[in-house]
């Protein structure tokens, strides 16, 4: 008689347990940040957190689903414009109108996917870019939202914004500073929610299907994974979050124009560099990447176009010599997984 064998499948590692505790402490610190941080730090954190959200979305598409989109600016822009439309045409408060951005982006993602999924690989990249251009040029025709020159949020909408009053009295701030606190908290919630969502997705059955499709599409289909369906789910979900992020970014800016809201460099180019430098196909990568990106931006702020030139060279070098990015290097040296998704079989006799 063989001994009865009990087994379980686990993804947890010792490092991930510690990381979870450290992350919880960091989150508490981050929530409390407005109590002691100045306005400029909060504004920097807003940029970091919103870029992190965009990077996680693009990483989900390119790193896990193999969908290398160069058209994510379509969803940032449409999300931002939908938020503006909600405020200007229907008198919505800007905060709930951000969600309208997510809805608009998800709706736009459906015809986009319909076209772009006809194109494989590199042609998918160009196809998404063309669609983003079509959306930009069409929105520039929308005269009641300022056409090609753009428009601003009405003053009364920004001054009466939800939650601003209680935040102002809580911290004893002026309205403008309280709006920064609100934007920071929303960006923090969105970034944490996105990371949690991506992590949960990758640990689920669907995540396993996604990894199977990425590693071998034919073999995955042979065991019954519907690759096309997974691509649809991931594409629309990433678009929705990107749209919400676009709405949030332009709630903070309060001024929009088609060229800025649909800028390929700002909303897709930088994001690609963040993910590639940090480490594509990992959750840790974009987090590390956004820190490096922001540090470089600060360091080279006075050198104009040299900054982008150096960023491009670093991106190329990382792709050629360390294709799994900085986090890949760290992982290879130390074996640490902060967000483990690899399943391990643990057998007890």
């Amino acid at each position: 008689m063989a001994n009865p064998v009990s087994y379980r499948v686990e993804t947890r590692t010792r490092a991930s347990g510690r990381a979870a505790i450290a992350a919880a402490a960091l989150v508490v610190l981050a929530i409390g940040l407005p109590a002691f941080a100045g306005r400029s730090l909060l504004q920097d954190m807003f940029v970091i957190l919103s870029m992190l959200t965009l990077a996680q979305c693009w990483n989900l598409l390119a790193g896990y689903a193999g969908l290398v989109s160069v058209g994510q600016q379509a969803f940032v822009g449409i999300g931002a414009y939908a938020m503006f439309a909600g405020v200007i045409f229907w008198g919505w408060d800007p905060v709930p109108a951000i969600l309208l951005g997510g809805v608009a982006a998800a709706v736009l993602a459906i015809p986009t996917a319909f076209f772009a999924f006809r194109l494989a690989g590199a042609y998918f990249a160009i196809g998404t870019w063309v669609i983003a251009e079509v959306v930009r040029l069409s929105v520039a025709q929308w005269k009641s939202l300022g056409g090609g020159t753009g428009t601003s949020l009405p003053r009364e909408a920004t001054s009466d914004m939800m939650f601003v009053e209680p935040i102002a009295s809580l911290f004893g701030l002026r309205d403008a500073a309280a709006r920064d606190v609100l934007a920071y908290w929303l960006a923090l919630a969105l970034a944490l929610g996105t990371i949690a969502g991506v992590y949960a997705l990758l640990r689920s059955r669907q995540g396993l299907a996604l990894a199977a499709v990425r590693d071998n599409r034919v073999a995955a289909r042979a065991v019954g994974v519907d690759a096309q369906r997974m691509n649809w789910v991931v594409f629309v979900a990433a678009a929705a979050i990107t749209g919400i992020c676009g709405g949030l970014i332009y709630m903070q800016t309060a001024r929009i124009s088609p060229d800025a809201a649909f800028a390929v460099l700002d909303w897709t180019g930088y994001v690609i560099f963040i993910v590639v430098i940090g480490g594509i196909g990992t959750i840790e990568g974009p987090i590390l990447g956004v820190i490096v990106f922001f540090a470089l931006q600060r360091l080279l702020a006075d050198y104009g176009s040299w900054y982008l030139l150096i960023l491009g060279v670093i991106g190329i070098a990382v792709m050629l010599f360390a294709p799994r990015g900085l986090w890949g290097l760290i992982h290879d040296r130390t074996g640490i997984d902060l967000f483990p998704i690899r399943r391990r079989l643990i057998i007890k006799k």
Partner: protein, 287 residues
């Protein structure tokens, strides 16, 4: 009559887009490499021509003859040092490396030549026009179109009539077997990229003569070029010409209705073709 004129102008504009696209089509056909820096390389070549014209004071056509070998060398070196390392089954490395390259070229040009828009001076020929039946067309657009036809004819001859072309087709079909026959794929790829850069130089001449250019206009040219390649069908050079013409005609037709719709209608024509013929009009390669 105005419609005939618009369509003729569109066809001639399509010649320019076909020139933008021919190099892209060649490189993709041979090594399945999609170069996102293609548009920026066209702009780089335009600055190179302008630089030669200004420094040596020669005619732009002479400057092209000097710039073409330099661009060949740039293409050859780029392929040898960087792009070859990205080839493989994974599509991510070539895309991301050429995207990085696009950013590098744009910003290097900004540093070197500022953001001011430039033009390659061609003299009286710039405004000359000829009567073509009922319509009158500019000499430069006509030359552009003739060059596009000539370039595509020459590339087809190269591809199907020479031993280099045979090597191109061999490594395109199966690099490993080609190696057994004594062909070095890395060297063939480098030559192919070099030739693509010579085509890019010709395209750059017309880009710089016909309109103003500055370091940031590369990506838009890349998109037109890609649309032409995809409409034509992957691997078909004459198809690329047809694709360029479709984009050109759609743009001039749209622009004649409302100037703001010019670019938009080109993109929409592309999406419509994609909807009806997902593999393009004249697909050759199966991939």
């Amino acid at each position: 009559m105005i419609w005939v004129d618009t369509i003729v102008q569109g066809v001639l504009l399509g010649g320019l887009y076909a020139l933008f696209a021919a190099g892209l089509s060649l490189v993709f056909g041979i090594m399945r490499l999609v170069n996102l820096a293609h548009g920026d390389l066209i702009v780089l070549a335009a600055y190179l021509i302008l630089f030669v014209v200004t420094v040596l004071g020669v005619h732009p056509l002479v400057a092209v003859l000097l710039a073409a070998p330099m661009m060949f060398a740039i293409g050859w070196g780029l392929q040898r040092l960087i792009l070859t390392r990205t080839l493989g089954d994974d599509i991510l490395p070539p895309l991301l490396v050429t995207f990085g390259l696009s950013i590098v070229i744009q910003n290097a040009l900004l540093e070197g030549f500022t953001a001011d828009s430039q033009r390659i001076p061609m003299g009286a020929i710039e405004t000359a026009s000829v009567a073509l039946g009922p319509v009158s067309v500019g000499l430069i657009p006509l030359l552009t179109f003739a060059s596009a036809v000539l370039v595509i004819f020459a590339l087809n001859q190269l591809f199907y009539r020479t031993s280099l072309g045979r090597a191109f087709r061999a490594v395109s079909d199966d690099p490993t077997t080609a190696q057994l026959m004594g062909i070095r794929p890395a060297s063939v790829f480098a030559t192919a990229t070099g030739i693509a850069m010579v085509v890019v130089t010709i395209a750059a001449l017309y880009l710089g003569v016909r309109s103003n250019f500055d370091p940031t206009i590369g990506p838009a040219r890349l998109i037109y070029a890609f649309e032409a390649v995809i409409i034509g069908g992957l691997g078909s050079l004459w198809g690329t010409l047809a694709g360029g013409i479709i984009i050109g005609v759609a743009q001039t037709l749209g622009g004649s209705i409302n100037p703001e719709w010019q670019i938009l209608s080109g993109h929409i024509a592309f999406l419509v073709v994609l909807l009806i013929w997902p593999r393009g009009l004249f697909p050759r390669a199966f991939d």
